[in-house]
Symmetry: C2
Subunit: 695 residues, 2 copies
């Protein structure tokens, strides 16, 4: 009887995935830490991320663990609160940018924690900053220390039970009472109940709410107000009714609540008055630049695009590591005595490698989007501060572009991330369904990203409509386009029916980018005609969402091409060239194949060749560097928090240890075992029915 | 202050979705209960389903409730056990077919309950029936009453930690000990640990396990054995180690376990010996018809195809009812004072109506698959009983066809159902994410269907390979095809490049069915060439899964056409004609648009017209009957168990009531509130750091 050198007694040699993993790493053509610098944008940012990873991995409160997957709702919220308290220790000391990056990384494994803080700092405080006067910001955020998550805890009271996407339609009223110089906040009916409000159920002391401003019977539309919800003893204020909205599909750590206001009175100062102002006598000054108030919502969208990159990086790493260590069936491919590794099957490569390539495209593009957002916000603040009209005008145009870009990326990437988690989970077979692999909870936590803070379809329609208007202006008015939609300036050259991609030689990133531009213009031109015929934008909503997706991929491919141009090291360049090729062949030419063909941008024979042969070849090339490519995301095991995805690849023992630790096998009977036993050992039907049926 | 006649005090009129719902029903062109008869196949089956629904809805133990969504793992299992006990009261009295139907319906809302019973009755007992002798079946299932879920509870010990899809590769050993006339069952290493075994952790007294038969050092491959796990006191047998595999993404009511055997001895009689037999001296008789042993696994696949129909029916009903009662934005469409109903938006129609049409296609097709399965099983049993060689031969061919059909339908439909639940949830916006709408738990419970009992990709490859072989036989050997693949007999006429669908007039069900047949043949012919060139079936695995999906849709469309031919009543015929048209335009011509075009079956201009105009028109036609079409599924509110999907449409009040009932708003502080308050009211950094930084 042979005893192996491993940690468990075996009577035969067992599987050895760690050796397979080491073998993959020996084939690496580049240094993953150098690749990490490229994905994250700069070596400095990558270094900062590594430092934060180290800090989080070691932090006794913030570090995740497998037991996190087992928490009940109550314990989950208790843990989230403890982690918030721990985060407050950093917010007072760290640089703002560093704290924000920490929050971004924490969110990738504990989205409940992330969103609870983001609602307070990102929505409540940004709302005061964006809509309030300096004095108001100073009062609540600085004096009262809300920006350090101290004294006050804010929630964001926008959505109502009857109003989600349509914020301008909310029905909560804020009626000015001239006699007392107060606003009366009221929830007129069940449909106007504030709903989903994160932090409302238990945490929030204040809420920035959206309500209709009513003065002397006139409705001035929706404005923002700060309404205290709980007093210094954390007791509900009078007139305020709050409840927990209850169990959700995921994000159990978040205390989402509903709020009803019954004639709650607040001072006039509590209306946020950077733009619209109400004087003592009820006179209203309407805002010159109210559109600027929306910029505060963009930070969330930019963040959700980045979240998409990080969650895909996490789970594609797990699935690819598992595919290396898992053998299944003997096949023609390996031909050997042992079963074939999953990762060597062409179908398995076709399932996972495109997502790996996509994740790279997401990485570089969301880094660019973050930088774009920082620039726009900084330049706009500067311009406003200096009251530089021309600079404000330029900034507004940039803000509009950012609005389109962030809407297109947020919606498209959160959807793709949902699909990536699903496919990666299924690629891990049964073990993907075990909570300890991490997929289940992360999926359930993730998918709300597709419907909140701009429902994806609503955002997509909005981005698509802007693109349509832009193309219309170019085609009909010879307008010039600036910003990241610059390429639309050439729209006139793109209409028609010239086939851009005809031969295999055309399949390079630059030509595909060009083809994508042509497709965007042609889809737009057709949609514009259709909208005109039907006299409604709603009849081209399908096309608008399609355009938003195409625009997102244009941003990704464009950024990826720029990134490649800066890479000199041959190993890195080799790998990235394979990755970009697989990305555009699958996520562009295959996914939108029908559109590329029917709009005559891609020739059908070439499309067939792509699917029949080229994608398979490309998948194999990426597969050969797949482990170094996933190692390059540099996610530490602790934060990956997947029992089948650790760096060393030794998942059989890792996983079994987790299962045994969290489910004590020495308890051989369930607490409800007596019910089971009574059922199995029940008397006969006849006896149970008192033998009455004999008659 | 106006007080409405509703049950809540309002100061303004609130939303009134129930009136909108009633309006939809007034537009019905047919009687939903007649439509129900069509979907379910016969009025008798439909009637039986209504009776079972009524029984379940009233049953104090089996009826679901909103509180089900709140259960912890332990309570979920306790509840599932109570429901199993309740089901045992029916199994002893009801006709087998009726009990099976009850189980099928129960599974749609409580899949944990369903699968726990199915593992016992469907896998354990079917395994004994399929692989054991009559004496063995008599012993365990009849004498010991296992078939009534009494005395014994069986689990199905097939998969191992290292072997999921590849059942022939399991490594548990059953070594014959001639001295004692026993088999020694052993788990040689961690990879051979039985894993995921439903019912093992707490319930099972016995397991039918897959293990390698070893006699005198020779490995005879994998056979099945019955191994007792727990004694009459429900204590683990010696040598048997069992543990809970722990938390899962869903199906928390199921006690999945791991099992390790350490030299466990069982009598020779405990090897199931209908086919392979081991004599007292260790001589092995190999089976003539071992392939028949696999037929017992088909019941599960057929059931999962039906499950797909029922879960889609449930959630498309919820999403469409919600879309009627929900208003969002004012738009060009309604033009009125009020916001537009979601269901009137073209994009919303395009998101939901195709799933409604698909659900109809699933309904009629899975009814046919159930009947096909019943026939095959009955005829095979008859033939074997009479030992009629010719009839056995015919039955074997039918079994093979059923194998392909059930593999294609199980894999394709469980995937589509996953997408349907996801899209339906997103179409309900934020409320889709609330547990009380039912989506979250059902999705999490559902998705395991895509990876178990034949992983979808593995099944798809298998079905696709059979289709390829069939086409190859026809093209190269002029073979004749029978059974449901009969259409492949004409394969030779299908190759080439004739475009089948060129004009709008071609878009009728029969022509599209023909086009689909041509596509299947052309994809097959290309794949056969590719497989030959690469000398490997693995290089055409992508094409094999594609063929499996196309074959599934062929089955659906073909059945749907047959169903339509039997309908005479004009209202029903009108609605069904709209439904089938939308089904084939979206799930065939759009989803496989790239393939239809590149294989030159569909002309690109027609494809473009379908997407640009025809699908939108078709969606609108189906939308106009959408409520009667969903009412036709006849799912009672209790079993729908969705607070936003009740029949009357009054979801605002329904939902709010559920939220308040399950989350008592009078408890205004969380149990962990003191942690929150301490965090907010913490001392300054300087004080907390003992003012030491002043130096």
């Amino acid at each position: 009887m042979a005893i192996t050198g491993r940690s468990l007694v075996s009577t035969m040699p067992g599987p050895d995935p760690a050796t397979l993993m080491a073998e993959e790493r020996r084939q690496a053509k580049f240094d993953p830490s150098e690749m990490h610098n490229i994905i994250e944008g700069t070596p400095e940012k990558a270094q900062k991320i590594m430092e934060l990873y180290q800090s989080l991995e070691r932090d006794p409160v913030l570090a995740p663990g497998y037991a996190d997957y087992e928490l009940s709702r109550d314990l989950h919220r208790e843990q989230t609160t403890a982690r918030i308290a721990r985060m407050t220790q950093y917010v007072e000391l760290e640089l703002y940018m560093d704290f924000w990056r920490r929050l971004n990384l924490v969110t990738a494994y504990d989205p409940s924690l992330g969103i609870r803080i983001l609602v307070n700092l990102g929505l409540f405080i940004n709302c005061i900053k964006g809509n309030g006067t300096d004095a108001q910001f100073q009062y609540w955020c600085v004096e009262k220390e809300a920006k350090f998550m101290k004294q006050l805890w804010g929630c964001f009271g926008m959505t109502e039970l009857g109003h989600g996407s349509n914020a301008a339609g909310v029905e909560t009223t804020a009626t000015f009472d001239e006699k007392t110089d107060e606003f009366v906040i009221n929830t007129p009916h069940i449909g106007a109940t504030k709903w989903w409000i994160g932090g409302a159920a238990h945490s929030a002391t204040h809420s920035s709410i959206y309500a209709r401003l009513i003065i002397k019977g006139k409705d001035y539309g929706v404005k923002t107000f700060v309404v205290p919800l709980r007093d210094a003893n954390h007791q509900l204020m009078s007139g305020v009714s709050i409840g927990d909205i209850g169990l959700k599909m995921g994000r159990e750590g978040v205390d989402n609540g509903w709020i009803q206001f019954s004639q709650v009175r607040i001072p006039r100062f509590f209306m946020l008055q950077k733009f619209c102002k109400v004087a003592r006598d009820g006179e209203v000054t309407l805002p010159p630049l109210e559109q600027l108030s929306y910029i505060s919502l963009l930070q969330g969208r930019v963040g959700m695009a980045s979240d998409s990159y990080r969650i895909c990086a996490r789970f594609i790493t797990v699935a690819i590591r598992y595919a290396v260590g898992r053998r299944q069936f003997r096949s023609d491919i390996s031909g050997g005595k042992q079963e074939t590794q999953l990762i060597d099957y062409p179908l398995h490569q076709r399932r996972l490698m495109p997502y790996l390539a996509l994740t790279y495209a997401m990485g570089v593009a969301t880094d660019r989007l973050e930088r774009q957002h920082e620039t726009v916000v900084r330049e706009l603040e500067d311009a406003v501060q200096k009251n530089d009209k021309k600079a404000i005008h330029v900034s507004l145009a940039d803000t509009k572009t950012l609005f389109i870009d962030s809407a297109a990326l947020k919606s498209t990437l959160t959807w793709l991330a949902e699909q990536c988690i699903t496919e990666a989970r299924q690629a891990c077979g049964g073990l993907g369904y075990s909570s300890y692999s991490g997929f289940g909870k992360s999926y359930a936590d993730w998918v709300v990203q597709c419907t909140w803070e701009g429902d994806n379809n609503v955002l997509g329609m909005s981005a698509g409509r802007s693109i349509l208007k832009c193309v219309s202006d170019v085609l009909k008015k010879n307008a010039k386009v600036s910003g990241s939609l610059l390429f639309l300036t050439n729209a006139k050259k793109c209409v028609g029916s010239e086939e851009v991609l005809q031969t295999e030689e055309n399949l390079n990133p630059e030509m595909v980018l060009k083809a994508l531009e042509v497709l965007i213009v042609r889809v737009s031109a057709a949609a514009l005609e259709k909208a005109e015929t039907n006299k409604s934008w709603d009849f081209v909503s399908y096309e608008r969402v399609l355009l938003s997706k195409l625009r997102c991929h244009h941003y990704l491919l464009d950024t990826f091409i720029q990134t490649l141009q800066g890479v000199k090291e041959p190993g890195l360049l080799y790998a990235l060239a394979k990755v970009i090729r697989l990305y555009f062949m699958t996520y562009l030419l295959e996914h939108f194949g029908r559109e590329f063909i029917t709009y005559r941008v891609l020739c059908p024979q070439l499309s067939k060749k792509i699917t029949d042969r080229l994608v398979g070849e490309s998948c194999l090339e990426v597969r050969n560097q797949a482990i170094p490519l996933t190692d390059s995301f540099q996610i530490p095991d602790t934060l990956l928090n997947s029992a089948i995805g650790n760096y060393n690849g030794n998942w059989y023992e890792d996983y079994f240890r987790v299962v045994k630790t969290l489910n004590d096998p020495s308890k051989t009977k369930a607490p409800y075992s007596h019910d089971l036993e009574a059922m199995l050992n029940r008397a006969s039907v006849s006896d149970r029915q008192r033998a009455e049926k004999r008659f």
